[in-house]
């Protein structure tokens, strides 16, 4: 089975971000980057699926040349191939453009199963997986915390606010991965050495125009300065007083 795992290069979750001077995006100078947290879970599930059912895993990213570092990490963990749809403006693409560009590449790849993270931790749209599946005409299950595959018959469990749902579907399919699906492995030395010489081709794609225009990006509004109401349990009455009479929330 041919499997594709899509990853996105995003600012690290611990990064303090600054808004660019023109207020049209983020100031990326010196910004530390990582693979989006949930995409790591996606690649891990792709590798586990291959180990159980056979096939090969391609790690695909729409991103800059520097993303080869991220892709190579996953080659070291057990993915078979990597490819970069080279795009210096990857972070400024809207969800539809990203999904359509990935769709063009994946529909030619012979893949039957695609894994993505449930959300990319930069633009937080949580849209590309289900949009990609819709453009491909494939089944899609989002926020998956468990997956079983038997031939082309699949069962996934997905997490909602109130319940765990069981969903049945046939391949081909797109799965978006939620925390809890697996615990991503680390690369071992053998994997790291083997990954060093693997080619990671940079590929071109048919451009898709954005339907989203950035009018303005701002830092979040500063919160009004707060205060320490006191120390220890003795401060509880003062806190209750403040919550009732000042804040009016209880």
């Amino acid at each position: 089975m041919k499997i594709v795992a899509c990853i996105k290069r995003v600012p690290t979750t611990e990064a303090q971000v600054k808004v660019a001077a023109d207020q049209k995006g983020l100031d990326t100078a010196g910004l530390p980057w990582m693979t989006s947290f949930y995409d790591e879970i996606a690649v891990e599930e792709a590798i586990r699926t291959k180990e159980k059912h056979g096939g090969d895993v391609t790690v695909l990213t729409l991103g800059p040349a520097e993303a080869s570092k991220d892709v190579r990490e996953f080659l070291a963990r057990g993915a078979d191939a990597g490819a970069i749809l080279k795009d210096e403006q990857w972070h400024a693409r809207d969800a539809r453009a990203t999904a359509r560009i990935l769709c063009e590449r994946i529909s030619k790849s012979g893949a039957e199963l695609v894994f993505l993270g449930r959300i990319a931790t930069d633009r937080d749209n949580s849209a590309v997986g289900a949009m990609l599946a819709t453009y491909l005409g494939w089944a899609c299950v989002s926020d998956v915390v468990a997956l079983e595959i038997s031939g082309t018959q699949c069962t996934a469990r997905r997490e909602t606010e109130h319940a765990i749902e069981t969903v049945s579907f046939l391949l081909p399919a797109v799965i978006t991965c939620q925390k809890g699906l697996n615990e991503p492995r680390r690369a071992n030395l053998k994997g790291i050495m083997a990954a060093k010489s693997k080619p990671i081709p940079e590929e071109a794609f048919t451009d898709v125009a954005n339907q989203q225009q950035v009018l303005k990006v701002e830092p979040p509004p500063a919160r009004k300065p707060g205060r320490i109401v006191g120390e220890g349990a003795a401060a509880v009455p003062a806190l209750m007083q403040a919550l009732r009479n000042e804040a009016g929330v209880i």
Binding site: N125, A127, E159, E161, E165, Q212, I228, G232, I250
Partner: protein, 317 residues
């Protein structure tokens, strides 16, 4: 005046509060609102939607328990209504449906919006990036403006209107079918929708002490329990409770952070809460920088005293 189609999520005949807020957001855009309701209890749920701003309510009858089949119906209704916008609440079902509807309309999606505006038929949205580390105002040139609205942000507008109820046969089939659903234990409130969130961090010292967090949440009565990434990674709490950039972004009326120092990624996930209370033994903890009210000291003494005070207040109301 734009035509706006809103998917109204309902459970056992009762519209989800976040869905009524979404209707309020649609109404505030100045358009004519067509609500769509699906599933068992849809008739009952549709009956009152006129009061919340719907001019029309389409009740999908029958149909499959399938997100892609429902999305196909929603896209078809949006086309038939000549809709300029499709909206639903950014709940887990809304987040699952909306991108499918958007793709069927070949329109991009603006997720988890905190403000919407419409001038004539052109829409813009405000939405957080990086869990709120930056706030973007975005214009749409999509054929249909597709967006999800963040729960607890928009006001549901209750009035006295009535909606024209229209029945429509739902699509059968669907590529992925929901074949079972197991309710989470205790029917607990989710951190994303609860008006009060009580979260615990590493300062709770171990999973056995989270009874105190649950006790305080129970005292409020309308509170969900949350957790920091550190305690979820340590396996003390389920990941569904995690608040932060790699968990859930929340905006309750009241957020109580107990024993949470305030890592950047946690602060990003809760900084838009209306009121933040921090309880921490370290007076220099970053959480105090964004808290409205702080108590410095031992959570194991403060939390039970606070729970008792909240219980007494509720008993006297």
């Amino acid at each position: 005046m734009p035509n706006i189609v809103v998917f109204v999520e309902q459970h056992a005949g009762k519209p989800a509060r976040a869905a009524l807020e979404c209707l309020g957001a649609a109404r505030a855009c100045g358009g004519s609102v067509c609500a769509v309701v699906a599933g068992a209890g849809a008739d009952a749920a549709a009956a009152g939607l006129g009061r919340f701003g719907a001019a029309k309510a389409v009740v999908l009858q029958g149909g499959a328990a399938s997100s892609d089949a429902l999305a196909a119906d929603l896209a078809a209704i949006a086309r038939e209504q000549g809709a300029q916008a499709f909206l639903c609440a950014a709940t887990s079902s809304g987040r699952d449906l909306a991108p499918r509807v958007a793709a069927l309309l070949d329109s991009t999606l603006f997720s988890d919006c905190t403000a919407l505006s419409a001038q004539a038929n052109s829409f813009s949205a405000v939405r957080p990036w990086l869990a709120g580390k930056a706030i973007a105002t975005l214009a749409s040139s999509a054929p249909v403006f597709c967006a999800t609205t963040r729960p607890n942000v928009f006001a549901a507008a209750e009035g006295s209107g009535t909606a024209e109820i229209v029945a429509r046969a739902a699509s059968t089939g669907g590529k992925a079918q929901v074949t079972g659903s197991a309710a989470k234990p205790g029917g607990k409130l989710d951190v994303k929708e609860a008006p009060v969130v009580v979260s615990g961090g590493r300062g709770m010292k171990g999973p056995e002490n989270f009874g105190l967090i649950e006790e305080l949440a129970a005292a409020f009565g309308n509170a969900a329990t949350g957790a920091s990434r550190a305690v979820v990674d340590a396996g003390w709490r389920p990941h569904a409770e995690q608040v932060g950039q790699t968990g859930k972004t929340v905006a309750p009326q009241l957020y109580v952070a107990v024993g949470i120092s305030g890592a950047i990624q946690h602060l990003a996930g809760m900084r838009t809460s209306k009121v933040i209370v921090a309880i921490n033994k370290d007076p220099d903890a970053p959480i105090f920088k964004i808290a409205d009210y702080g108590i410095v000291g031992d959570a194991f003494e403060i939390v039970p005293a606070l729970a008792q005070a909240v219980r007494e207040l509720k008993a006297h109301k």
